[in-house]
Structures are given as structure tokens and as C-alpha cells.
């Protein structure tokens, strides 16, 4: 599904990613762990198509060259990034945003756009699964939401858009234990053989709930170690020092 070869990324002439390789197949859950400044969020941003990065190397997504696709095309083709810091957008109603987003994706896929009623049905169902109060959805997008509410809103968007590749950038940060469990349940219930996850995290905590197939340790812009779920437990005990 996703194949990254020798990816380099620079911002303002500062090298952040230095030859990163990664292969993700449908149905797999990959976790990327690493210390601050190792390039985790840069990887997420580059995959989402954010401007401002100078990149080299190859990223193929379902055979297509990702670098040639705009951010919105990537989303329409099934790449979803749950933001580390979801943005507050004043004046934009959450429901209107969700509907515009879903219909943009549907339109790009050649599906019929949804009318208000069928849309609301979907939103109602997905938001109740995540324990999101419907009142939130009539508020301005993320404005005045708590950290946990913002993260739940990201997972709600994921469940509505039904992406093939979901990248969760530190979705666990700022969540209390209950919210963490709800978010993890949300991810687990969406997981299937067709879609894949790339989970970026600092801590083992989230991986107790969402079991990864692979854990990669990122250091100085490169993957320095890959292992199975046990690697996370080891990291939790020993820290990153042994790997970097």
C-alpha cells in the first residue's frame, strides 16, 4: 500500500529525514516511536502533503507517486492524517465541515454526494460510538474543544471518511485513560484487512490498546530498529539510549 524508499526531507536547509525506508501492507498496523526531534511528525506532514518541505527519495502509494498528488487528492485517495494539534477554525461549523469533507471525498471517488439526512445518520452513528455529544457537532470546528475532544474529533473524521491508510500523529498525547480507551476502541473497530495504520507515538501506552504488527524506532531521521510488539515493552523499560 505504502512504500517509502530513501526518503529525505529538509526544512529551511535543516535535514530532518535522512534516508527513511518503510513498507506498509493492507491490514498492517505499524508504530513509529522515537525521541523528540527524531522526525516523526515531519514524516506525517510529508505524507499528508504539507508545504514547506524539500524532499528526495520515493514514496509510492498504491503504485502512484505520492509527491505528484496534492494534499486534497491524497485525502480523496484514502490517506488520512489525525493531527497532533488539530486546528481551531472559527466560524466553520463542525457538521458543515464534516459534510463538506465527506462529500468532497465521495465526489472524487465518483460516488453520489450525501444529502443532509443521510449524512446526519452517519454522523450520529459514528459520534455515538466515540461518545461524542451531538451538541459538539453544531459548534465551531475545534474552537474551545478540550485536548481530548479535539482528538476524538479526529478519530470521528477518520471513521466518517473511511481511509485506507490512517496516520495517527501522537493521538494519545493529552488524553486521559478513559479517552485513550475510547480512541483506541474507535481505531480497533475500524481496523480490517483492507486498511492500514501508521501510529506515531512517544509512549507504549497507546500500543497496549492498539496492538501493532511492527514497531520502528526512528532516530535522526532514519529507522534504526524494527521489531514486533515486544520492542515497545523493551523501549518502555530501557529508553531509546540503546538504539540511537
Amino acid at each position: 500500500m505504502l512504500s517509502i524508499k530513501n526518503l529525505e526531507a529538509k526544512v529551511d536547509n535543516k535535514h530532518i529525514l535522512n534516508g527513511l525506508n518503510l513498507d506498509i501492507k493492507p491490514g498492517e498496523v505499524h508504530a513509529i516511536m522515537g525521541p523528540n526531534g527524531s522526525g516523526k511528525s515531519t514524516l506525517a506532514n510529508v505524507l499528508s502533503g504539507k508545504n514547506g518541505y524539500e524532499t528526495k527519495g520515493e514514496i509510492k502509494y498504491n503504485g502512484e507517486n505520492l509527491g505528484e498528488l496534492s494534499t486534497e487528492e491524497r485525502a480523496q485517495k484514502g490517506i488520512f492524517l489525525a493531527f497532533q494539534y488539530p486546528l481551531e477554525i472559527p466560524g466553520v461549523n463542525t457538521n458543515v465541515f464534516l459534510r463538506t469533507s465527506l462529500n468532497s471525498v465521495r465526489k472524487a471517488r465518483g460516488e453520489k454526494e450525501l444529502d443532509t439526512l443521510s449524512f446526519l445518520k452517519i454522523v450520529k452513528e459514528k459520534s455515538s460510538e466515540l461518545g461524542i455529544d451531538e451538541k459538539f457537532l453544531s459548534r465551531q470546528l475545534n474552537v474551545g474543544f478540550s485536548g481530548g475532544e479535539k482528538k476524538k474529533n479526529e478519530i470521528l473524521q477518520m471513521k466518517i471518511l473511511q481511509p485506507k491508510l490512517s496516520i495517527l500523529d501522537e493521538t494519545d498525547s493529552g488524553l486521559d485513560i478513559d479517552a485513550l480507551r475510547i480512541v483506541a476502541d474507535g481505531v480497533n473497530s475500524y481496523k480490517n484487512k483492507e486498511n492500514a495504520f501508521l501510529i506515531i507515538t512517544h509512549y507504549q501506552r497507546l500500543l497496549d490498546y492498539i496492538k501493532p504488527d511492527f514497531i520502528h524506532v526512528l532516530s535522526k531521521g532514519k529507522i534504526v530498529k524494527t521489531g514486533n510488539a515486544d520492542l515497545g515493552v523493551e523501549l518502555e523499560k530501557t529508553g531509546y539510549a540503546n538504539f540511537i
Binding site: S48, G49, K50, N51, S70, T71, E72, R74, A75, Q76, F80, L81, F83, P86, L87, I89, P90, G91, V92, V96, F97, T100, S101, L102, S104, V105, A108, Q140, Q157, L161
Partner: protein, 414 residues
Amino acid sequence: MKNFYDFKVDNIIGISSEEKEFRNKELNLFDKNGFPNKREEAWKFTDLNTILSKNFTNITNDYISLKEKKFELIKEFDHNYLFILDGKLISNEFKFEDKNKVSIKEYDYKKQIFVRNQNSLNLLNNALASGGYSLEISKNYKFRKPLVVYNHFSESIKEQIISYKNSLILNENSEITILNYTDTDSKNNFFVNSFDCLKLKKDSSLKNIFINKNRCNCYFHNYQKSDLQHNTTLDNYILSSGLKFNKMDIEINLNEEHAKSSVFSALSLSSDEHQEIKSSLNHNSKNCQSYQKIKNVLNDQSRGVYQGKIFVKQEAQKTDAYQLSKALLLNDNAEFNAKPELEIYADDVKCSHGSTSGSIDLDSIHYLKSRGIPEKKAYQMLINGFLSEILEKLPEDNLKKFLIEKIGRQINGY
């Protein structure tokens, strides 16, 4: 240097010699300085004289013979209407109201109200105005439906100045919402210089909205003089994007206790449009409130100006006055100028002012795009979001829906 204008009082038909004398005096006063330029405080950011001289070869006040004109009524909401063609009152209909409670006439220039201040366009209006209307609403009468003033300009108008005065009197405890709806057939440059005199008597309330049906090459100037008595409310909503030039000069006199007034504006400007709001909120009595919130979205080489003044007389204790302007600049060539002015002589007042301008937040655009929303749509959503604070304050459901839809089209460049 050859002047780019030629105004003659003799071109105005059917006026007495007394009136002619008054008008000539006003025209002479105007001629001393001509059109305003930046030397005048009220025009600090705008040299109208230069703007007009570049865009007109010879503006005249030649008499315009009116041709019969059919016009389309707005279907989206029930309303009463006045139909004004090139400044002249042509027809009216108040089918949703008790007709005995509404008086509508042509403006009577024998009893005209005029101002002479640092804005020389008022002198020009005194000299050249004809047409316009006088509307009076009876005591205790509240309009059931809004009134739309269809302000139509003919296709044949070219290089002309159209001047008129309107008068509106709201008697005690009356209420009305007015939509000033400008609709222009002319593709040519022309100038409109109008004067509105509003009198709000005790406990009355007026919502006054300005919007255009379409883009045009018109240069507009409107002076609004409002006098508010005890416990009255005047809300102005300026949504008049789409004009080549527009200046709304608003003088609101809060003359008696508990008078309240707001100026709201949501503008979305593009190409070389120029829009200017100058307001004077004069707190002449205690316990009055004023609120101003101006939001401009500026694209291309458009320009926005806001000169908001709050004046508080010594006896106007417990004044509560607020003003804020915000500009969203979408292009490096667009410009927004704001000059808040506070002149306060009372010592127990609450007055605040602020002004910000900035560009669109690219991280927010990225966020929306990352959800599959195309870039153009993402921009529209953010612009709409920026203006929504004003749009939410618009009155009456169906009217509001109509206006929001119009503004959505303005954002997309009509």
C-alpha cells in the same frame, strides 16, 4: 487644468428661484475646494478628486429622462417595496401592512434637511439633489415584513452624477427592517451622491441593510444622518461589496438616554474595488450604547478603509461604546486602513477599540485540504468563517438566508 466635471443648477427641473439661489450658493461653496482629497481628515486615506479625475472625462448632472422599466421582485422572502429609478421614486407597494400607518411621498426639497461639514460632497448634494423619498411610519406600528428599497440605475447612465435625499421618520414605538438593494444595468462609470436623514422617535427600532444585486462601475457616496431619541435602536448592516467605489459616511446622534446603535459590516472585495466606512457615533446623552464591528476580506488590489469615531459628550456618563475592525488580506496588493478615533469628555464611560489585519492561516487551509476539501473550497470556508460572526447577526430568517446566499456569491467573486 480642465475640470473633469461640469455641474449646473439650471439642469434641475421645476425649482423655485428661492431654491435656485440656495442651490447655487451650495454649489459655489463646493467649487471652492472641489471633490475631497487626503488633506481633509474625513478623507484621510482617499484622494477622491484624483480617483474621479482618472476615471471620468466629464461628469455632469444632465437631466435623465426616465424610461419605463420593469423590474424583478426578490422571490426568496415576502416584502413590501419602493421602486426607485435613477434616484426617482416610481412606485411602491405595502401589501403586507396597514396602509394607513405608512406615509410615502417624494422628498420635499422646500423642507430639505442639509448638513454642511468638512465633507464637501454634502454641499454638492445640497446643490444638485432631486428625487428621493420621504417615508413615515405611524406611532406604535411595527412592520410585519421587511421593506425592500429597489435602487435601480438605468443602462443609459454614463458619466453622470445622480444626487438625491431620502427621509425616514419612525414615530414612537414603531419598527421596520429595510433592505437597500442596489441594482445597476449601466456598465458605465457614474457617480451617486445620496443623503439619508433618519429620525427615530422614542422606543422605535430600525434595521437598515445595504447590499448590491450585482457588480457595477458605480462610484457611490452616501451620507446618513440619524437622530435617536429615548430607548431607540438603529442597526446598520453594510454588505455592499461589488462597487467600484463606495463610501458610507454615517453620523449617528444618540441624543437621549438608552438609545442604542450598531454598525456591522461584512465585505468581500476584489479587483480594484474601494470601500470605505466612516462613522461618527455621537454619545450626546447618558446611558447610551454603541457597537461597531467591521470585517473586510480583501483580494486582488482592493482597498478597505474604516474611520470609526466615538464621541462622548461631558454629560454622556455611563456610555458603553465598542468598535473593532478586522481585515483578512488575501493578496499582497490589497490594502486595509483603519483609524479609530475616540473623543471622550465624560469620566464614567466604557469605551474600547481595536483593529487587526492579517492573511489567511495556511495551516488551517492544509487541515481542510487534508480532509479532501479542494483548495478553493477551503479558502471559501475560511473566508465565510471569518465573516460569519457578522452574518449571524442579520435579522429575520428568510431575509437572512437570502443575504447569506448573496454574500456567498460575493466571496466567489459574483
